[in-house]
Amino acid sequence: MRTRVALLMATMLSALVVLMGIGIGPAAASGESIFGFLFQDKGGKRVAYAGVDVTAKGPGGFTGKATSDKAGKWSIDVPTSGTYTVAIVEKTLPKGINLTDATKKSLTVPVLDGQDKPVLFPLGKSTRKIEGKWTQAAQLIAEGFRFGLILGLAALGLSLIYGTTGLTNFAHSELVTFGALSTYWLSVGVLPFLPDFGGLSFFPAAALALVACAGFGWANDAILWRPLRQRGTGLIAAMVVSIGLSIFLRYLFLYKFGGSTRAYPAYQGQKGINIGPINLAARDYWSMLVAIVVILGAIVALQRTRIGKATRAVADNPALAAASGIDVDRVIRVVWVAGAVLAGLAGVLLGLAQGVNFQMGFQILLLIFAAVTLGGLGTAYGALLGSIVVGMFISVTTLWIPVELKNVGALGILIVILLVRPQGILGRAQRVG
């Protein structure tokens, strides 16, 4: 009897919680903390630093402080989830030891519900003692360029799909997430609905994930969008359908992946490499290279190949393209597959840059829209240009505005552009209607 009453109470309570909170907001949870180890890697040996102070500031005026122990570990319990600023007190560091990157003296980190958030301060001999505004700007431009390329991959796909079908696809962000999630799953060897296996190394995993993305894009078109086109579904109706699909897929990802942010197993904490004033991890350099090569490949394909020309013809005028013998449905199918692969690749690279989570695509969706609008809706090259501009803008403006407001600036320009030049940089005025 006792247990049944307790059970009832628990059900009522959980029902109440569910009823009261919409569920979007932070749910009640406890036990969040921020922790880390202070050490330096000396030829494979860890040298830990004890007695170093770390402070944390967070929502509600919270401040906390911890001192590292013998193993170099420090840990600060924080009251709620939220964004915290974690800083290392430099003067408590042993003599001769500095942060390898002076900009990382203070880090802003999000702490999710119930999360024990690891924070790393890279220690060692300081490689850059004085960091002027210009050095910082160069670094931010490099990071912005990398982010812009990632946006560009996603925006290219979105723009091609928009150009050929008129669909403003809100579920495009889930194609991005899908690329990153499937790479993660393949590389740790845990696939949803399938038995576990050993896991692949990163590159085969990413390649297989892109194949999965191609299949996903194909399925999107074959199962959903082609039948809808044949029914003559209006553009606004299709947009709302894509919103529904986006919500469905996002929570399906949450259900299968969980709410945490994880890094690909092979790429946890890679060391930075300096090129001039720019300090990026090796993976950042080659991921930029991959993005550039793929984007150039896509441009060549659009300009030179038969299917590329057909795509541009359909984007220009579907009826005329059909009349001149182009199989419009086939072109759209190819565009969906290619767009999904590009978006998936964007997801894989974004996962390298900032870790994998279930809503990583959704978090950049509006930036992709901003990029596409800035470049000119439906123009493929405009989307690329817009992405680079948006990526750089977001990154460089952090010189002057707080990091957590960087996206606000980008969304702000989106609105300003629509005021001044609604067709975007490369768009034509008559597309605006």
């Binding site: 569910v18 979007i24 939220g82 359908v241 919103i243 919500i247 259900y255 707080p402 609105i415």
Partner: protein, 331 residues
């Protein structure tokens, strides 16, 4: 399985706070989307402006409750004007993207550490509702209602005011849409150019519609803030807007009472799925390896997404709507 509890929860959800809030938000969207054909994807922004207008005025600056309500309403009007000026001359999907971006700008700004002193960061604001509850005519009592079904005096007061506002909003929308002004709005939805050729100032009409719908939606923001007696920025995410659209489309766009019916059905359905799944897990009908109690919410959101898709594909007019009256094509 405790069916009494499940049914009581569903009944409470049908008249509860969420139903009121989403009914108001969807009534506003109905003016925008249903009657004028404007694709406002930033309704959450209007709710946020109202809720934060009230909360910041009272909790941060220590000013009076009524001034907070006034400033919240003014904020909603200003937001509508700011959104409308750049976009109302452009095609429908531009308005969609700008409004969704504006709503996100608002959310990111109020949750930022920089403005924590004013807006309270990701914790939001509390302790601003006492001015409202001091007007409460219901004497203190644990349960107004029958058996397990019922609300305490605070909930009763919020829900009474909330449903009165819903009734008032519906009346306003009904009268407006019967007027010549309302007929012009519907004509704009059907064919903007035709209306323009008749000498009407389409831009002005759209702007008025955006303001009125925004203000009606912002009432939902007030009710939510007062009902919870606290607000957090992430409540006003894009999903809130999309849920309001689901509510509107479920009921049937361009019908006065549809958002209300839509909101009630929507929240009853969500309550039922939640409670039935949770009970089934408790009772062991569903293995915990398949579905954990903490994952019930995720299944619920998946169902919302599916519902929105299926409705739009198979029954875009919802329960009460008329298919010919829905703005489905971008112009």
């Amino acid at each position: 399985m405790d069916w009494t509890r499940i049914i009581v929860n569903a009944l409470e959800a049908s008249v509860g706070l969420q139903a009121v809030v989403y009914a108001l938000a969807a009534i506003g969207l109905n003016v925008h989307f249903g009657y004028t054909g404007l694709l406002n994807f930033g309704q959450a922004g209007f709710l946020a402006v109202a809720a934060y207008g009230l909360a910041v005025t009272v909790a941060t600056f220590g000013l009076s409750f009524w001034l907070g309500i006034f400033l919240g309403l003014v904020g909603a009007v200003i937001l509508a004007l700011l959104l409308g000026i750049p976009t109302l001359r452009l095609r429908a999907d531009y308005l969609a993207i700008v409004t969704i971006a504006a709503a996100e700008i608002i959310r990111l700004t109020v949750r930022s550490v920089t403005f924590e002193g004013t807006f309270g960061g990701s914790d939001g604001r509390q302790a601003f509702a006492s001015g409202f509850y001091s007007l409460n005519p219901y004497p203190v009592r644990e349960n107004y209602g029958i058996g397990q079904f019922g609300f305490n005096e605070r909930q009763m007061w919020v829900l009474t005011v909330g449903w009165l506002l819903v009734a008032l909003s519906c009346t306003i929308v009904y009268l407006l849409m019967r007027s010549p002004w309302g007929r012009v709005l519907k004509a704009i939805r059907e064919d903007e150019d035709a209306v323009r050729s008749l000498g009407k100032n389409v831009y002005a009409y759209k702007m008025q519609s955006l303001v009125i719908g925004g203000v009606l939606g912002s009432l939902g923001g007030f009710i939510y803030a007062l009902g919870q007696a606290s607000i957090q920025p992430d409540i006003f995410g894009t999903d809130t807007t999309f849920f309001a659209y689901t509510v509107l489309i479920l009921g049937g766009a361009a019908r006065v009472g549809a958002p209300v019916v839509g909101a009630i059905i929507f929240w009853v359905l969500l309550s039922l799925t939640d409670n039935i799944l949770a009970e089934a897990i408790q009772a062991g009908y569903i293995s915990r390896s398949v579905l954990d109690t903490s994952q019930v919410g995720q299944v619920r959101f998946m169902l919302v997404g599916l519902l929105l898709m299926l409705l739009m594909i198979f029954r875009p007019q919802g329960i009460f709507g008329d298919r010919r009256e829905i703005a489905l094509d971008a112009r």
